[in-house]
Symmetry: D2
Subunit: 328 residues, 4 copies
Amino acid sequence: MTAHPSPATTPSTPRSAPGLPTPLTGVVPPVCTPLTPDDEVDVASLERLVDHLVGAGVDALFVLGSSSEAAYLPDRHRETVLTTVVRHVGGQLPVLAGAIDMASLRVLDHVRTAADAGADGVVVTAPFYTRTHPAEIARHYRLVADRGQLPVFAYDLPVSVHSKLDADLVLELAADGVLAGLKDSSGDDGGLRRVVLGARARTDTPGFAVLTGSELTVDSALAMGADGVVPGLGNVDPHGYVRLFRYARDGDPERARAEQERLCALFGMTGVGDPLRMGASSSGLGAFKAALHLRGIIDCPRTAAPQVPLSAEETERVGKFLAAAGLL
Amino acid sequence: MTAHPSPATTPSTPRSAPGLPTPLTGVVPPVCTPLTPDDEVDVASLERLVDHLVGAGVDALFVLGSSSEAAYLPDRHRETVLTTVVRHVGGQLPVLAGAIDMASLRVLDHVRTAADAGADGVVVTAPFYTRTHPAEIARHYRLVADRGQLPVFAYDLPVSVHSKLDADLVLELAADGVLAGLKDSSGDDGGLRRVVLGARARTDTPGFAVLTGSELTVDSALAMGADGVVPGLGNVDPHGYVRLFRYARDGDPERARAEQERLCALFGMTGVGDPLRMGASSSGLGAFKAALHLRGIIDCPRTAAPQVPLSAEETERVGKFLAAAGLL
Amino acid sequence: MTAHPSPATTPSTPRSAPGLPTPLTGVVPPVCTPLTPDDEVDVASLERLVDHLVGAGVDALFVLGSSSEAAYLPDRHRETVLTTVVRHVGGQLPVLAGAIDMASLRVLDHVRTAADAGADGVVVTAPFYTRTHPAEIARHYRLVADRGQLPVFAYDLPVSVHSKLDADLVLELAADGVLAGLKDSSGDDGGLRRVVLGARARTDTPGFAVLTGSELTVDSALAMGADGVVPGLGNVDPHGYVRLFRYARDGDPERARAEQERLCALFGMTGVGDPLRMGASSSGLGAFKAALHLRGIIDCPRTAAPQVPLSAEETERVGKFLAAAGLL
Amino acid sequence: MTAHPSPATTPSTPRSAPGLPTPLTGVVPPVCTPLTPDDEVDVASLERLVDHLVGAGVDALFVLGSSSEAAYLPDRHRETVLTTVVRHVGGQLPVLAGAIDMASLRVLDHVRTAADAGADGVVVTAPFYTRTHPAEIARHYRLVADRGQLPVFAYDLPVSVHSKLDADLVLELAADGVLAGLKDSSGDDGGLRRVVLGARARTDTPGFAVLTGSELTVDSALAMGADGVVPGLGNVDPHGYVRLFRYARDGDPERARAEQERLCALFGMTGVGDPLRMGASSSGLGAFKAALHLRGIIDCPRTAAPQVPLSAEETERVGKFLAAAGLL
């Protein structure tokens, strides 16, 4: 697959062993970005969070995705996150990096930064802000893969990007070596299944990974044949998702379902924020960070501007979700 | 702070005379960004384009907006555009700069760059990509104005940002000194009028400018009381928009309408691109650049990736629109 | 124009003199539907409302549109409205009837009812609820015009129908005799102008009427060349819209604008409803009916279920808007 | 009233034994509506289709849903469908009827017709066409349940209705006896799971049924705890969905998955229509009807206007899907 050059042919992208498995499988949490009270990256907290995730047995890390508040972070913060995590992981696990920006040339700048920092792959959405045509989405991914020197995972996130990746397009790009995988956060599990079954029916997409970003349906996505999961809630309870993945992998759907249902209850924390006062990002990311703070993993629960902070009472409700799940 | 700090109180934002009038009025074209065949900013063409616009008598320039392909341009290109235009204009006219990015801290980085380059104001959308609540939009503008050290114009562009700025919120931010003006590209002239009349009815929004970004209804927006116009098509025919503005200002609605109707016909060029092959940005921005190329103002009609180029036949149709308008 | 058969050739659609002018011009209020406290059509109030409108000098009436709560009214209520208004008007003015339903065969049932009741034309949206393709929109209008035996006005209302009528499609259907006119409630005055100028540039759309449904930009729509206006607020203040239309027709843009601005202020009543408690229909239609009740024209301000009623305090605010406009 | 009144307490709604189980479970195909070449309901074909479904062992029938083209069918056609199916089924199975219309009073007319015809329950969406507030959605369901005299199933279909039913609202309405169940065609299986788990966690929603309308994820929805499935594709292959349901019920997830994957392949038929020529309804419903025609169950594959018919070549491709699934 020519789009995924080996380290030997692309000396400009030194990737640590063990590099990126093909396909990528397992639990790949999108790492939250702890901030200091004055809006800097809190490096010590980030390292503790990485230890928390790695220690739980996750299979790879995804930095600078939506749960990482990538849309809110200046480039300088993004670089700090990347270099901190790559260095701290030290090659124990693959690190994927979001390259979240509006169009191809801007995305390519982030891809270069990720390559220089030693990331093992990048995660890229369709163009946004622009009025995008399917032909332009295809051009975008081809260009990013061709010039970018890192394996590319398509990131399907219609709630942010306002277009849906078509299953046939994804498969065509996979077959052409443009895409190494798909992170499907569309919530449309029928569409995810079309990609899984389409890839299985073809012989020209070996190693293509389908990862679900939907925290609430991981057991069923894995039962359908998805390769892994990228759960925002995995920041809070990585052990739970690791157990869930192992039960599913080992053919124990009952235990997988029970674990999933426990995590569904925990996910209720994302709704603590008052919808009259704040949007869904403020509530959901605020809850994840409050939980990490309450669990003692990060120093400060602050989310990036212009998100609205949780109130004391809302934070208290996060604590109750943790307690009910046995996490406090 | 007041919304429009004078150079004396904000030494970090050296702005050339004549600075920014309050309110900003007249024709403020959103300057296209000419590219070389290898995707660099074509500085010489950009300077010719600026001369073309200034020579036509426009009142200010707006760089790095949607018509400038700001969403497609890497930061390095954005800086080149900014410094080129500010230097080339040399204080003859105010220069506004788009600070187009997803959320507050990223926008603030662009605002700082704009201030350092000597821009006279910035144009800022609501947050996008993120799931945004009205309270977060208000926080966003307050933060950008407070920390940004440049007058802020709100940019209402629902087709890109997927939220609409509420008239009452805009007026509240104007009254609080957060906003120096509004660039309304929503196409909703009823909404624009609500802002115009709301500002007129209050005593606490002196100097607040309402600019329309809708090329096809400039005469009526001005008749309603809008202060100016930011027409993408003004790249191609700045003289037409300057005449239109003067007719409107001088109380000659008939001539204003005739000029507007001529420009409406010319605007038909934005539809030359085959919708089966490309999106609306590729077609519209491609047509503007093809026209500038055909008129001899820029060297290369290339649009930034992943936009789809116009075909030879589509470019020929652009030429026919120019010829019909007496511009070739 | 074969789509608009004369009474002689279509004996099944007896229309009263003076029939429908081509083009239809002037003020065509979308008549509110007064209800009794037990959700029946209040015929006496409806007749008083018709007298109020006719007495103000409007040019035609439009029943069973969005402002008439057509989406909320059972077919039996719709028929009562139609027969009441047609009979009460007695041929003094043309009566248009909304035929608001999801797809062609259902719409045709309403068209037949309208024809039988003696309406002079029907107003028809694109299909909705269904996932609609532009080719299907064209088929829809062709079928309704072909089988429907009444002149058809296209109703562009993206906020309800979730698709926008394309200007080129409208003009093609006009040229083919399918459409007698357009009621544009899209709020997109650039699009309205494209239809106005497109119709003027062609020789094959004689008598095609472009009517704006945007209460706040009537003066400018008329200045652009629109033929008339269908203002929901015209229920409350028909005299104002009649004056506005006459000023515009008689070439007095200053007075037209002043009248329009007075009506813009009055339109503020549509925002009285608390957005935490109710949607925009409940607030806007509730305000119109509250105003008609306060002015003594209808007996009961009730809106149809499941709309939320205005509170006493919200109704009081409607009264203040009336008082400020000299209507109480 | 309780949400599930027995015949004894609601004499106005004579329902045949065995009435409606609580909760409703199993396979409930949304019955296609065969048409004659002149757009009448083809009663003989409809009866053959019912026999085909009942003979396959389905658990109930759902008429007048989206797959039945309810949005396209005049009321007279709707009544013919209802009376034909209720009479032909003769009480062997429960019959649910869609009551698809824009707002409460119109929906109630359909509910009354359904009750008079002997349907066992109705399926009702949120209001559409109107600009709808969550409070109005709640009022709508309460009113329809209160006045309607039949068990009400909420129909979550954002692609048609343009709002999503909130899980908490659904559960609240279930607890209040307003809703007998949910047909979730949103494609959002995380949301479906929230309702399933929420209902299980409460003691006040006994008998509440959660049915998925997503053909491609039935095995996983059942594994999550959904009670049944309403598959449009079940018209074409009811035996497949009956097997799938039984495997899932009997704790054989492997076989359930294999059957589901076979049905996923068959579902590919819904994409045969050229997207340049037609919309998704024309393609999907056209494919179902072409398949039923090719299988000899209905006489004519015609879909209702303004849908675009499949071409001969597209129909041939439907045949290939049938052949590949062993259905021809």
